[in-house]
């Protein structure tokens, strides 16, 4: 109990210091395999020339929260410094046998599943520490999943500004209108983190989001 209070106090101080320096802690949340790390990598490549994390077609590749500090983004003459916080995909189930379908051995798959469950818990714990959040969804899948609703509901309850990004618009099956219909009260931007399509509009929306965070 005491440790939890001290930890929470330390996090609050850390947040306050970062905010005073004009840095925005920008979280990337969403279900697994929607392209959170791909988007964070795209931003890092655009402004730093380096990646933030590894990506894979196997779900739950990101199993620990990962950061990139001092990401200075410039738009229309304005500069904002971000700390990008890429989180593991949130899911309600993790079955190691799914990883075996990608050719993994049983032990390796079980280890990955264990790390994935711990990553999900860690991602949820970090919700309190964000100044603004990008919720990344796969524009080719049904947006009405309960995980999406839960993530957004939690951000609203914590008064954290949200921007919804529909990724993978380079694919034919992508349907941004469906995401807009599912979340009519939020800004939705369709992008392709893989090809860089529509990133200008994304940065425009990101700067609008930051205004709400200040």
């Amino acid at each position: 109990m005491v440790i939890r209070i001290i930890r929470s106090f330390a996090k609050r101080i850390f947040s306050a210091i970062l905010r005073r320096k004009g840095k925005i802690k920008l979280g990337f949340y969403g279900p697994p395999n929607v392209g959170k790390t791909s988007l964070a990598n795209r931003i890092c490549q655009d402004w730093l020339g380096e990646d933030l994390g590894e990506v894979s077609r196997i779900p739950h590749e990101t199993r620990k929260v990962q950061f990139k500090e001092k990401v200075l983004i410039e738009k229309n003459g304005k500069k904002i410094e971000f700390t990008l916080i890429d989180t593991p995909g949130i899911a309600t189930k993790v079955d190691f046998e799914n990883f075996m379908k990608f050719g993994m051995k049983k032990k390796e798959a079980q280890r990955r599943a264990k790390e994935a469950t711990q990553g999900i818990i860690e991602a949820i714990k970090w919700l309190d520490d964000m100044d603004a959040v990008i919720v990344v969804l796969d524009a080719t899948t049904n947006p009405y999943s309960q995980v999406n609703i839960t993530i957004i509901g939690n951000l609203v309850a914590r008064k954290i500004p949200v921007l919804i990004v529909g990724n993978k618009i380079d694919l034919k099956r992508a349907n941004i209108k469906k995401i807009e219909a599912a979340f009519p009260e939020y800004d939705v931007v369709g992008i392709s983190a893989k090809t860089g399509k529509n990133m200008d509009e994304f940065y425009e929306s990101l700067f609008k989001l930051v205004k709400k965070a200040k």
């Binding site: 189930k93 264990k114 949820i124 509901g153 939690n154 599912a182």
Partner: protein, 140 residues
């Protein structure tokens, strides 16, 4: 012929195994978050599908996910849960109707909403669109 009979038998036994637990809102209305989650996971771990009258708060849903993740790997065969909520939130209503519904929610909770929660080992997927939920069950 023998095969056909066997497959018929299997179908009837898996039908027997499927239990749906209807949980009226009153059953959890006065519980705190931990008690609600304990109750829900207790039923899910018995391989039952819960139809809950009402919904959990977003913070309660994340707590449910956290607890679910802790159980995966510690309880044999438990892979997690499937959850979906069906409500009329997307419908356009007049101002008076909205006020009426908000007052009703404060007084008696969200009783015009249903939440389905089931073990992922039984519920393969819950397909949802704003007005309907389809439960895809695993063949056992």
């Amino acid at each position: 012929m023998v095969r056909k009979i066997k497959s018929k038998k299997r179908t009837s036994s898996s039908t027997k195994d499927l239990t749906i637990h209807f949980m009226p809102y009153s059953e959890i209305a006065h519980d705190n978050t931990i008690e609600k989650i304990k109750k829900i996971l207790g039923i899910v771990l018995q391989n039952k599908i819960i139809i809950l009258q009402g919904r959990l708060k977003p913070e309660e849903e994340t707590k449910l996910i956290e607890n679910t993740m802790t159980l995966i790997g510690n309880i044999k065969g438990f892979q997690g849960i499937e959850i979906a909520t069906l409500s009329n939130d997307s419908e356009h209503r007049g101002l008076f109707e909205n006020i009426r519904r908000n007052i009703a929610r404060i007084l008696v909770g969200e009783r015009d909403v249903i939440t389905i929660i089931g073990p992922a080992s039984i519920v393969k997927e819950i397909k949802k669109n704003p007005k309907k939920i389809e439960l895809m069950l695993r063949r056992r």
